[in-house]
């Protein structure tokens, strides 16, 4: 497995939100990393997945994004993602998931 199989997650806390910036590939090999990274984010009003640097996502990766969405809903937290690469956008579009997500242009975008 080379470097392209890896995922780096940078967690950044801002005033009203925690931003998880994903860099690399979110697939069967890395999906669990995202689950771990979102443990213990209960206190935040909003969780943002920054997908700008995410090069690839597959259905397992998608499932892990959706499970973050579900956890946020259960906790009453806002959840948003940034647009991501063409491949990410394609998968979010084809699977109809895009319609269920709040998609923002930038991770620190001020929400109304």
């Amino acid at each position: 497995m080379g470097a392209q199989d890896q995922l780096q997650i940078a967690v950044r806390r801002e005033a009203d939100r925690v931003i998880l910036a994903l860099d690399g590939e979110l697939d069967m090999a890395t999906a669990e990393q995202l689950q771990h990274a979102t443990d213990g984010l209960e206190g935040q009003a909003m969780v943002v997945l920054d997908l700008e640097q995410l090069q690839f996502i597959d259905s397992t990766g998608l499932r892990s994004v959706l499970s973050v969405l579900e956890r946020c809903r259960d906790r009453g937290q806002e959840f948003a993602v940034t647009r991501g690469s063409q491949q990410v956008q394609r998968l979010l579009g084809v699977t109809g998931v895009a319609k269920h997500l709040r998609i923002i242009d930038a991770a620190d975008e001020v929400l109304a």
């Binding site: 069967m28 597959d58 259905s59 397992t60 499932r63 084809v94 109809g96 998931v97 319609k99």
Partner: protein, 737 residues
């Protein structure tokens, strides 16, 4: 003083002969000089003094001989108290300065006063009636080392020119002796320093001459070469040391004396350091040595006088390095194939000759019998011998010793002494014994082929012709090998078993055959990703769907393994039932969504594409329904492709779902290609060129059949994935004839 002088000529000859003997007899400087001085008294002189010039230019008296015993002692004391001034007028100082001899035939008291070192000295000379003297320089290699003075006292004869020559000759000889003695003592000092260094260094060092004689060896060399003292080595006859050892190169080839660096040096070759494996014949002990030889060249003749040989013992380092590279190579071999019989054969080949001369691998078969799967020796005829033994005297699993015992106990064994009677007791009959003797084992290691939970067999390593003793390091390495190989064999077995189960499961998840649709051709292709084809989540199906209608299904359940397989089965059967009930495609997908939502874990997601096909004339009417699945393509006969369908929501996670339905005609010659995401995502770029490029229309279809098209698309995907798919690919296609 009063002794009559012998005729000059005879005295001269006699003196020089005796001086020659004295000068050759000892190399200790002060002893020699005293002997020379004594030779002259009384035959040539009543008093003889030898002075030497020190390195700092001062003059030091080294020998005094006198016929009158009352003279020598006081003179020495006087000289110590009043050393001669090198710049003064004393004849000795003058001779040393200018290197010319002086004859003082008659010394008047005024002359003596003129060069005396103080009044006490003058009084001494006058009191002892100094009369006549010759002072000759001690000349050697162009340097004046000192002066030899002979004196006559009282009534003795005066010296003449003949005497001058004789004294000069004597002085020349003495000077040579002094020079040699100095050189010798300098050499001794250098040698002592060198020896102190050589004796104490950890490396074994020897000095050999052109006849192969060892002229020097240090203690480390003695220990390395199996001698109790360095002297034992230096007194051994040439060539008698090497036969004590088996000397091999890095690749196990035997080396002779002529290939040793020292011999090659004397043969005029330039030599590189040589790495040798050295085995002590007497004990079987193995060492790895680096032998470096450098020449000691005579500066005059430029001939090589000696070879300095340094033996660096790198056994520990080399063993660790070999063990690591061996294990790395073994791991590579073990990981390279899932065919364990082949793999174990390669392991046996790897172990020879690095660890042992023989290597055999036995495994426990399904029936509990011991089966020989590999045996290796560098000599094929020897392998045949081992095979003959195995055929004729097959290992019995209840044998009390050897491989069966190791397999039963799971414990490694090492035997470094194999007494003939033990071998005889082990042999089943005389023929067996003869063959075992022919193997010639001097040491044996048997280690279990150990999987985590059980012993699968055993690896046997035998040392024979190399005479090598097998160490506990070898045992540890062999045990590592046994564990590593055992794990590999176990996983190969599990893999075989798992692929069988996976194939069975996959068969249950995919239709055995596709139904016939009149006027249409159907084809499907399923390609599992990777070698460890865990059961994937792709599925497809073609089902009758009322009169003259069919339902084409393709879907993808997220994940792999048993859970995905269960969800796949659920999806497939839900859709089958729904098709039987002739639900609308949207209703079918909603049903599936609800059943997925009712699953306990709740996060199983699934994407599905449904296409209903109704025959209309020579073509068909399609309704394409998508639930989170990539849209299918319609491909024209000329290769032009277009996506059909509008995206819908994937099933099982999100509520509410949106399902998009699109109606489209499939004309004669057109193909509908449905596929799972593994196809566009093969290269992980997400098909930025657009999915219609999936099958590369620019490439001529070499195979006009529908299966041919699917194969071509699959090959293109494999190329894009560089041969390594990370997700399964499923394709289902229908073409109107």
């Amino acid at each position: 003083m009063s002794d009559p002088m012998l005729p000059t000529q005879d005295v001269a000859v006699e003196l020089l002969v005796e001086a020659g003997a004295v000068l050759a007899s000892s190399l200790d400087l002060s002893t020699t000089m005293r002997q020379v001085a004594r030779l002259t008294v009384p035959r040539l002189a009543d008093l003889c003094v030898i002075d030497l010039r020190d390195d700092d230019g001062s003059i030091r008296e080294v020998a005094v001989a006198a016929a009158d015993p009352r003279i020598a002692g006081p003179l020495e004391a006087l000289r110590r108290e009043h050393p001669l001034d090198p710049a003064g007028e004393h004849p000795v100082a003058r001779v040393i300065r200018c290197g010319e001899a002086e004859l003082l035939a008659q010394m008047s008291s005024s002359l003596m006063h003129s060069f005396a070192q103080g009044s006490e000295h003058a009084r001494f000379m006058i009191e002892h009636r100094y009369h006549s003297a010759v002072v000759a320089p001690l000349l050697a290699r162009g340097r004046t080392l000192g002066a030899l003075s002979v004196l006559r006292l009282g009534e003795s004869e005066s010296y003449e020119l003949d005497d001058l020559e004789l004294v000069c000759e004597l002085a020349r000889r003495a000077a040579m002796a002094i020079d040699n003695a100095r050189l010798y003592s300098q050499l001794r000092k250098v040698e002592q320093r060198l020896e102190a260094v050589l004796v104490n260094v950890a490396e074994a060092i020897t000095l050999t001459d052109d006849r192969g004689r060892m002229v020097f060896a240090n203690q480390a060399a003695a220990e390395l070469l199996g001698a109790s003292t360095p002297t034992e080595l230096t007194s051994a006859s040439p060539g008698s040391i090497m036969p004590r050892f088996l000397v091999l190169d890095e690749h196990g080839r035997e080396l002779d004396l002529e290939s040793m660096p020292a011999r090659r040096l004397f043969a005029g070759e330039s030599v590189e350091p040589l790495l040798v494996r050295n085995i002590v014949r007497a004990t079987g002990e193995e060492r790895w040595l680096i032998v470096r030889s450098s020449p000691v060249v005579d500066p005059e003749s430029e001939r090589i006088l000696y070879a300095v040989n340094v033996f660096e013992n790198i056994t520990e380092v080399k063993r660790a390095q070999l063990a690591e590279s061996f294990m790395a190579e073994a791991s590579r071999v073990l990981a390279s194939s899932m065919d364990y019989a082949e793999t174990l054969t390669q392991i046996a080949q790897l172990a020879v000759p690095q660890i042992a001369d023989w290597c055999a691998v036995d495994v426990l078969g399904e029936d509990g019998e011991i089966e020989r799967v590999a045996v290796h020796h560098t000599d094929p005829t020897r392998i045949e011998l081992a095979e003959r033994i195995d055929r004729g005297y097959h290992l019995d699993r209840d044998d009390p010793l050897g491989v069966p015992e190791v397999i039963r106990s799971g414990r490694a064994r090492i035997y470094n002494d194999i007494p003939p009677e033990a071998l005889a007791a082990y042999a089943r009959d005389d023929a067996h014994l003869a063959m075992l003797q022919a193997i010639g084992a001097t040491a044996v290691i048997i280690v279990p082929l150990a999987a985590p939970s059980r012993t699968l067999g055993a690896i046997t390593l035998v040392s024979s012709e190399s005479l090598r003793r097998l160490s506990h390091g070898d045992l540890a390495l062999a045990e590592r090998l046994g564990r590593r190989a055992g794990t590999a064999v176990e996983s190969a077995r599990l893999y075989t078993e798992r692929s069988r189960i996976a194939t069975m499961l996959e068969a249950a998840l995919l239709p055995e055959s596709l139904p016939q649709i009149p006027g249409a051709e159907l084809a499907s292709l399923y390609r599992a990703a990777g070698e460890l084809n865990d059961v994937g989540g792709d599925f497809y199906d073609v089902l009758p769907y009322g009169e003259g209608r069919w339902l084409l299904v393709i879907g993808d359940v997220c994940g792999k393994g048993p859970r995905a397989a269960a969800v796949t089965a659920l999806a497939r059967h839900t859709l089958r039932t729904a098709a039987m009930l002739e639900l609308t495609p949207t209703a079918m997908l909603e049903t599936l969504h609800r059943s997925l939502r009712n699953q306990p874990a709740g996060s199983d997601l699934c994407t599905v594409c449904l296409a209903t096909l109704e025959l209309v004339g020579a073509g068909a009417r399609l309704m394409v329904t998508l639930a989170g699945h990539p849209p299918p393509l319609i491909i024209d006969a000329d290769g032009e492709a277009a996506q059909v369908g509008t995206p819908g929501t994937l099933l099982g996670v999100l509520d509410p779902i949106e399902i998009g339905e699109v109606e489209v005609e499939l004309e004669r010659g057109q193909t509908l290609l449905m596929y799972t995401d593994g196809l566009p995502e093969a290269d992980r770029t997400g098909m930025q060129l657009g999915e219609q490029h999936l099958f590369e229309p620019s490439v001529q279809r070499s195979d006009p059949t529908l299966v041919g098209l699917l194969t071509q698309v699959e090959r293109a995907a494999l190329r894009r994935a560089n041969g390594r798919l990370r997700d399964d690919i499923a394709m289902l296609a229908v073409c109107m004839d």
